[in-house]
């Protein structure tokens, strides 16, 4: 019987272990992109032996996911033998973005991906995608029917970077039954903070012991709302003209307008006119649909669910202003579609674009808007049969579109473009929440939160400028 000498065995084990370290040291380079990322013409799809496979990563589940699947099926049926799209649900927006980062590291990105608004600057900096503009130029695509506010958001340095698709704006929702009981007019919901407070005083119902059974107002502490309030007050969210003229270096959500908002919110809770919700938007939705809060703030995308889940009549109005003299305006939210070029063949790139072009047709947009409540990216979609039927059933569906149409197009309503936008949103939420749940004043809490973001911005900017 032979045995290995002990010494060599230990060396082998050590070698194996250090191999791991070595491998990890090597994985640091490669990738980065920056090569020739332009749109191929339609001829690349001619005379294919078999259909080009396009994998589409998205974050649409439940009702919205089903509507999306219908659209994918419709496209595949039209393009048999040319392009075949497979939808793949990747979890919520944050999870999908984390998944996409991992995919970039491994060089295995999907052909087409849905990334939320806050990830826009990151997507540009990671240099993996073919700019949307390049497809428009190649096909002489006419964007005049595409919602201008959406183009405004996704255009950076004069170039459309991605295709808007599932987009929304927030609205103010009211419980019409509660309004009527309180002797208020549900057709003219409050438009600014002071009016909301006045209405809430009428809407709040207490029992004999002084416990509140119905609050006037209740919404989640959601950073997107701060962004909306600022846009409507014509205040930029970050410097560098909202990051559109150059890289932003600081956030401005310690603006007096925001302080006013947070102080108002705190006082509403203090005076038992608003219910304390926390940061989870599901809880805000539940407080409204269960009738606990008679007014709330939420995305247009929630309208369908609100109507379905509540046993009272749901009304919708424009998102409120901080003060009555604010000019108004509205930033969009939601996600856009990005075509990955790095590591993909021209056929795959072209196939992805053809699918996107299908999604942007009035026919597809009519189905999409009616099924989900998201905006019709192509405004001709509102004239489609599905959208028309929906508008007749529930006129609230048109509020979002008119709010957007009434909105001025400028840098404030374009929203802040910044690589660490999601961290900034979280910081704003934390400052806001700190003011509501501790002794810190709104001013202290918001300026501390804003200062905290500066370091993160610097780190990000350094890491992309190297």
């Amino acid at each position: 019987m032979t045995t290995f000498p002990r010494g060599r065995g230990i060396k082998a084990a050590a070698l194996l272990a250090s191999l791991g370290l070595l491998l990890s040291a090597c994985s640091g380079d490669g990738g980065g992109g920056g090569s020739d990322l332009t749109a191929p013409g339609p001829d690349v799809l001619d005379g294919l032996d078999e259909a080009v496979q396009v994998e589409f990563w998205h974050s649409m589940d439940a009702t919205n996911g089903q509507v999306l699947d219908e659209l994918i099926e419709g496209f595949n049926a039209e393009n048999e033998g040319r392009v075949e799209v497979t939808g793949s649900f990747q979890g919520d927006y944050d999870t999908a973005l984390a998944g996409h980062r991992a995919a970039i590291q491994q060089g295995e990105t999907a052909e087409l991906i849905m990334i939320y608004d806050l990830g826009t600057q990151f997507m540009i900096d990671s240099g993996q995608t073919v700019p949307a503009q390049s497809f428009l130029d190649e096909d002489d695509y006419d964007t005049s029917t595409v919602e201008e506010a959406l183009l405004n958001y996704f255009t950076v340095e004069g170039e459309l970077r991605s295709f808007p698709f599932n987009n929304s704006t927030p609205l103010m929702y009211v419980n019409r039954d509660a309004f009527e009981e309180a002797g208020l007019d549900p057709d003219s919901p409050p438009t600014d903070l002071e009016e909301i407070r006045a209405a809430a005083e009428e809407l709040t119902v207490t029992d004999d012991d002084g416990t509140v059974v119905q609050y006037g107002f209740g919404a989640a502490v959601y950073g997107w709302f701060i962004e909306q309030f600022m846009a409507r007050a014509a205040v930029p969210y970050c410097d560098g003209a909202n990051g559109r003229d150059g890289r932003a270096t600081e956030v401005l959500f310690d603006d007096p307008k925001v302080i006013e908002l947070v102080e108002w919110w705190d006082q509403m809770i203090e005076d038992d006119l608003a219910v304390q919700i926390g940061r989870n938007t599901d809880d805000g939705q539940a407080a409204f649909t269960s009738g606990r809060a008679a007014m709330t703030l939420e995305s247009t995308g929630s309208l369908g669910g609100f109507i379905e889940q509540s046993d009272f009549e749901v009304g919708a109005g424009y998102f409120p202003l901080v003060g009555p003299d604010d000019p108004g305006g509205s930033i969009i939210g939601g996600a856009s579609l990005w075509v990955n070029g790095e590591g993909h063949s021209p056929e795959e790139v072209r196939g992805s674009w053809e699918f996107v072009r299908y999604l942007l047709t009035p026919e597809a947009q009519s189905v999409w808007h009616a099924g989900t409540g998201y905006l019709a990216v192509n405004t001709e979609g509102y004239d489609g049969p599905e959208a028309q039927e929906r508008a007749e059933e529930s006129p609230q569906f048109s509020v979002a579109a008119s709010q957007l149409a009434d909105s001025e197009i400028n840098e404030n309503t374009a929203g802040c473009m910044m690589g660490v936008m999601s961290e900034a949103r979280v910081a704003a939420e934390e400052g806001w929440e700190a003011a509501l749940t501790s002794d810190a004043t709104a001013e202290e809490a918001m300026s501390e939160a804003a200062r905290g973001v500066s370091g993160t911005i610097d780190e990000y900017n350094e890491s992309v400028e190297d």
Partner: protein, 284 residues
């Protein structure tokens, strides 16, 4: 020949333990590009950054949470099992019933508690209201949120504790109890002086396992509060997650440094428990 047999386990050990650990150390010493690839050596700066009030708060939260989960969890399971000893009819059924929480996944248990706690619509507050009691801001107050998660976690852990201790109690030799009874020990005296010492090994096992579990808790925090309000429920594990994956960040360097701190904390806790408690454990 010996290495031939040892080989597979060495490979697995290297692949799943040595390599990840080495990789974590490597990442903790490097900064990332925006995709999360390590691209520059930063020395120990991720570790020195941790010497901040925020991070100390995270450690305090972690300790409070762990103690808050382990003590009531173990004591609760012990009390239940001891009380059930006195029940003759339906003892097995009751033990099973108390062990049921063990069958719940973290996610489903958390979702159920999310409904209980939901701000504005809390089921628990509804019950309190019917009883004429004050409403509790379960998840929206910085003081209360951590305890709400503790309650959830204790409930989830109780089933496992009951299972382990019930099995332990069943394995205590009858003669020991009979001898104690002949000497006149009954009720609490019997439990305190005979049953609990005889359960020593199971209790020790339970304390070690639930401490490690508590330190690694993630799902219930993620589902119930996402670390808030204002970081009041951000434990070490949750802080790692936030730096590495949440909010579109991918600061794997800072997250890896924290992971090493977590490893150290678990190691020290376990070593302490073995050094202090295990000496008192009686193995029959």
């Amino acid at each position: 020949m010996a290495w031939g047999f040892l080989g597979p386990s060495v490979v697995i050990f290297a692949l799943f333990l040595v390599y990840p650990l080495g990789r974590t150390v490597y990442l903790s010493l490097h900064g990332n590009d925006i995709i999360g690839r390590p691209n520059r050596f930063v020395g120990l700066s991720h570790f020195t950054e941790m010497a901040s009030p925020e991070y100390v708060q995270v450690l305090i939260t972690t300790v409070v949470f762990s103690v808050g989960v382990v003590v009531p969890g173990v004591v609760g399971a012990l009390v239940i099992v001891l009380l059930l000893e006195g029940v003759i009819r339906g003892q097995k059924f009751l033990r099973g019933a108390f062990a049921v929480p063990f069958a719940f996944s973290v996610a489903s248990a958390s979702v159920i508690f999310a409904v209980f706690y939901s701000p504005g619509n809390s089921v628990l507050n509804g019950i309190l209201y019917r009883m004429g009691l004050d409403q509790v801001p379960w998840l929206t107050s910085q003081e209360m949120a951590l305890w709400s998660i503790v309650i959830t976690t204790v409930w989830m852990n109780l089933g496992y504790g009951v299972l382990v201790l019930a099995a332990g109690i069943g394995s205590i030799p009858k003669e020991v109890n009979e001898a104690a009874r002949i000497d006149g020990a009954t009720g609490p005296r019997l439990a305190w002086d005979v049953t609990i010492p005889m359960l020593g090994p199971q209790l020790f096992f339970l304390i070690v396992i639930s401490t490690i579990n508590a330190l690694q808790s993630f799902g219930q925090i993620h589902i119930l509060t996402s670390g808030g309000p204002v970081g009041s429920t951000t434990t070490l594990v949750y802080s790692i997650f936030q730096d590495a994956f949440a909010y579109g960040t991918s600061d794997f360097g800072r997250a890896s440094a924290q992971a090493l701190v977590l490893l150290l904390v678990v190691l020290v806790c376990t070593a302490l428990q073995f050094g202090v408690i295990e000496r008192k454990v009686h193995y029959s």
